[in-house]
């Protein structure tokens, strides 16, 4: 093995390790039909729901909720919306939860044969952000994100980076105010 090849292999290993640690994020969003979200200008917070079903480490964890709330604030501001505490146009509300999922890897050749199969159990966190019309209470936009939490909650810096990444990805789908 030449030095170059060894180096290439090393880089590939590092990339694989990072990819495995940073679980993929799945993002979806929904806009109410006939609603022009970008016509709303200001946003304010609805009551914060600090329960996190499925994860006692995050349940009522102010460090987690404060960071998440600030990230959502920054995300909305980056899309052109203005924070206010006086008569906002839309109210922001979020909900978080966690559950275990089972992941099977390998090559299923038939119902009875499997090559290099293995099974992993991992925690998957779900974040749901709702924007509702402050006047009518009607839902105008909903974003959801799912992300693997392996090694995330137990490392505060990594948790903050994950929140940052997830929220940024979610708000890509929110109509930008011009």
């Amino acid at each position: 093995m030449t030095a170059v090849r060894l180096f290439a292999a090393g880089v590939a290993v590092a990339i694989a390790a990072i990819a495995a640690a940073c679980a993929p994020i799945t993002v979806t969003s929904f806009t109410e039909r006939g609603v022009d979200v970008a016509r709303y200008r200001t946003f304010g917070w609805d009551r914060t729901d600090t329960s996190v079903p499925g994860d006692p480490r995050l349940e009522n964890n102010e460090m987690f909720h404060r960071y998440l709330r600030d990230a959502i604030d920054r995300g909305l501001v980056s899309r052109g919306y203005e924070p206010t505490i006086v008569q906002p146009d839309v109210l922001v509300h979020y909900h978080t939860s966690s559950r275990q999922k089972i992941y099977t890897s390998g090559e299923q050749r038939s119902a009875e044969r499997c090559r290099d199969c293995s099974v992993q159990v991992y925690d998957e966190g779900t974040l749901l952000i709702d924007l509702t019309d402050a006047r009518t209470g009607a839902l105008v936009w909903r974003g959801t994100a799912e992300s693997g939490l392996a090694g995330v909650v137990d490392n505060q810096s990594r948790m903050e980076e994950t929140i940052e990444r997830v929220v940024a990805r979610m708000f890509v789908n929110l109509p930008r105010r011009s």
Binding site: M1, R5, A9, A12, V13, A14, A16, A17, A20, A21, G54, P56, R57, E59, N60, N61, E62, M63, F64, Q100, I102, T104, G106, E112, R113, C114, R115, D116, C117, S118, V119, Q120, V121, A150, G151, V153, D154, N155, Q156, M159
Partner: protein, 195 residues
Amino acid sequence: MRRAFEFLLVGSVAATLTGCLTLMPVSSHVQRGVDFAHYTTYDWGPADARPVTDERLRENPYFVDDVHGAIDTELNRHALVRAATERADLLVHYHAAIAERVEVASRPGSYRDCLGDNCQPQVNTYDAGTLVIDIVDASTRELVWRGWAEHRLEDMLDDPVQVRRRVQDAVRRIFDTFPLAVNPTSRRTALEGTR
């Protein structure tokens, strides 16, 4: 070359995964920007409505005493002194949450190239316990630190000596991540520096 690469790849992925799945993980979160050096006293805060949600633990007289004792010991080790609630800088409380979780019984890779029933992974359920210790700033009433340890519940229903040993070990490891120094002299110097 290809085999060596595959070997390295599988090895690194496995290392990353097992790194996240070690038994009895212990960790904590801290409120950024809070200066812990000015805290000197603590008291037990108002208990949760039900600090220990599982009756198997609640009915175990040792468990609750052990957790209390271990937390007191660790706070003292970090040079925090117990005081009357109205004079305490910090309020401490804990709770033990129990949840059913699943785990894969077979080792990863143990059914490579499997056939028939061998392809069915063994998935078991077990009761997982999470001990959460919260420390609240008494003046602002804000949570400034939370530490936790995760463990199998059955290990906490063992004989009292084993339970005490595990609780002490868990609480000690949780407090190893606490932002205050253990060494009383360095702590005293730090405190004098803040006055």
